[in-house]
């Protein structure tokens, strides 16, 4: 049974988490994600769940580490500066193979930056969310519906692959309201967690959750094994959307809110006879490299539309193996690309043909 309701993106994340079996939310206030915490504070006590406002983002992510160690579904949310603080914990969660869901409703940076939408934590989310070799599953919603659906997916993927999963949203999708359809029970799969620390009951040896490995040959082996798991994730979990790519001569790559603006620009460009399409990564890691590589044989150029100074563009270049030029179309600091702004870039790239 499902119902259709009008919700803010941040609220959709919170409600979807609850319906996915999450009963522990640990957070710290920061704009523009505070609605997640506020929603959880209201709902959790009514359903026997735990809402806890931590003294810092550091503490919140370590409470997540504790709940995850007990084998329970749990979530924390924050926005860019707060995620920087959580990075220590993300490294530990990845190192201990602990399923957990982390939400980043991005705002402009660096430093304290602003409170308007941004996508400038792309590198942080997909490449450098803490020290050491590790990955997180990173999901990029582009609508309030996807805020809900991908949150649910994040819990399942985190449990399935025993690793942290991040929702990389932005202030626009977090704050805007759209109709959203929510299933009664989004908790698709139950996973056994024999590794969890819930007490030995004197019936088994003690479980240990730990990332201190002093013997280099063992630490190397564990890293290699974790990357074997990542290979499985890369082969099984890539998700993306193709939009008007059949006859496209220009391929836009964009995710989240930028992809919606790009779609409007594509419609307008097509009216003017320019064949442009979109590849929208839904999983930022694992990155949909294959469709972009395939597109590189057909299109004359790529445009990376993003709300950062050029971060996604590196992955587009890598995936397309630099076979075709990749142009950047971006606004930053909380400014958002308008459809006209993207259209102008499309027309400019169309004029250039395949030239760089």
């Amino acid at each position: 049974m499902s119902e259709k309701v009008l919700m803010k993106g941040n609220e959709a994340i919170a409600e979807a988490a609850i319906r996915s079996g999450c009963r522990f939310y640990l957070g710290y206030p920061i704009t523009p994600q505070t609605e997640v915490a506020a929603y959880m504070a209201k709902r959790m006590p009514k359903i026997g769940g735990t809402f806890l406002q931590a003294e810092s983002e550091l503490s919140a992510i370590n409470m997540v580490y504790g709940v995850a160690s007990a084998g329970k579904r749990c979530m924390t949310s924050s926005s860019s500066p707060g995620i920087s603080l959580k990075c220590e914990g993300l490294s530990y969660l990845a190192a201990c193979d602990l399923p957990s869901v982390i939400v980043n409703v991005q705002r402009g940076g660096p430093g304290l930056g602003g409170i308007q939408p941004s996508q400038s934590d792309y590198f942080q989310a997909t490449k450098g969310s803490g020290h050491g070799d590790f990955r997180m599953i990173v999901l990029a919603p582009s609508s309030v519906q996807e805020m809900a659906d991908l949150t649910s997916l994040a819990f399942d993927l985190a449990d399935k692959h025993r690793m942290p999963a991040m929702i990389l949203a932005d202030g626009t999708i977090g704050q805007m309201m759209e109709p959203v359809e929510l299933a009664e029970d989004m908790h698709a799969t139950q996973y056994e967690k024999p590794w969890a620390c819930t007490g030995t009951k004197l019936e088994r040896g003690h479980n240990i959750i730990n990332s201190l490995i002093l013997k280099p040959e063992i630490l190397e082996r564990l890293n290699i094994e974790r990357y074997e798991k990542y290979k499985i994730v890369e082969s099984e979990e890539v998700r993306y959307e193709e939009y008007m790519m059949d006859d496209a001569e220009i391929c836009i790559v964009a995710f989240g809110i930028a992809s919606r603006v790009a779609k409007s620009a594509i419609m307008e460009a097509r009216k003017q006879g320019v064949k442009v399409g979109l590849i929208r990564p839904i999983t930022l890691w694992p990155f949909p490299a294959e469709p972009i590589r395939a597109a590189a044989d057909k299109v004359k150029a790529f445009i990376s539309v993003e709300l950062s100074m050029g971060q996604l563009i590196y992955d587009v270049r890598l995936a397309s193996e630099c076979k075709k030029p990749v142009h950047l179309c971006s606004r930053v600091g909380g400014m958002i690309t308008s459809p006209d702004y993207v259209l102008k870039k499309i027309l400019e790239v169309n004029e250039m043909g395949g030239a760089v």
Partner: protein, 251 residues
């Protein structure tokens, strides 16, 4: 009749601690508390960063290793997720009173129903003897080679006194393990800190004055004397808070 044996709460792994280090004694007291209360099977311990990091190998209960200073936050998550389990942290002074100050203060302020064993030996042992938040004024360490100068390095943190101003904690006591008599007293305090949690009384912390012969540059016996003569006067032993003392006395 068995007069003395290894507590079940300890594994059969040889401890890595230096000769004369009192971590071994304190580990044993924690294990004895688990044995006597019959809680090992439902206890989850949180190891911290410092000399005691590898305590996850030594305690027979389930163990989670926490990032430096974050053990009380990790314990909070565990206890909220497993309210019927017993959750304790085992932390040193650098971990608890420097990098983890916020986690310590706020888990205490929330009155989390957890047990904290705080081992204060006035130095960073694992990294080779640097000045700790609890190093005494004038104490020579690797990073206070001319003695801790309070004008530039500030004053030591008295954790029990600091936390005693909060309404959250149920029980705060400072003990020592510098003599058999002191060890017996420490045993009583640690047992009480665990029993409090079993009875749902809330946040209990026992600070144990400990020694570090290696990094203090002393023999084990000299170190015990130094603890008695220098640490105990600066860190007075005793109960700093006991919310349920009257109730217990009435029983």
């Amino acid at each position: 009749m068995v007069v003395f044996e290894k507590p079940h709460g300890l594994t059969d792994v040889p401890l890595h601690y230096c000769p004369g280090c009192t971590h071994g004694i304190i580990h044993r007291l924690v294990a004895e508390a688990m044995d006597e209360l019959g809680i090992e099977g439902r206890t989850v311990g949180v190891a911290s960063v410092g000399c005691s990091v590898m305590s996850y190998d030594y305690f027979n209960c389930d163990m989670v290793q926490a990032a430096h200073g974050r053990a009380p936050a990790v314990a909070t998550g565990l206890k909220r997720a497993l309210p019927d389990n017993i959750v304790f942290t085992y932390q040193g002074d650098g971990d608890l009173a420097a990098i983890g100050t916020a986690e310590t203060v706020h888990s205490a302020a929330r009155g989390e129903n957890i047990t904290i064993i705080f081992v204060n030996n006035a130095i960073y042992g694992m990294t080779g003897g640097q000045m700790a938040p609890t190093s005494l004024p004038g104490q020579v360490t690797q990073t206070s080679p001319y003695g801790r100068d309070v004008k530039t390095a500030g004053y030591p943190v008295r954790v029990c006194e600091l936390l005693s101003s909060l309404d959250g904690p149920a029980y705060l006591e400072r003990v020592s393990v510098d003599s058999p008599k002191a060890v017996k007293n420490a045993k009583r305090a640690i047992l009480k800190a665990f029993r409090n949690q079993v009875e749902g009384k809330g946040f209990s912390l026992v600070e144990v004055l400990s020694t570090c012969p290696t990094n203090w540059g002393m023999t084990p016996v000299e170190a015990l004397e130094w603890c008695r003569e220098n640490m105990v006067p600066y860190y007075p032993l005793g109960v700093y808070k006991d919310k349920y003392a009257d109730e217990e006395a009435a029983k």
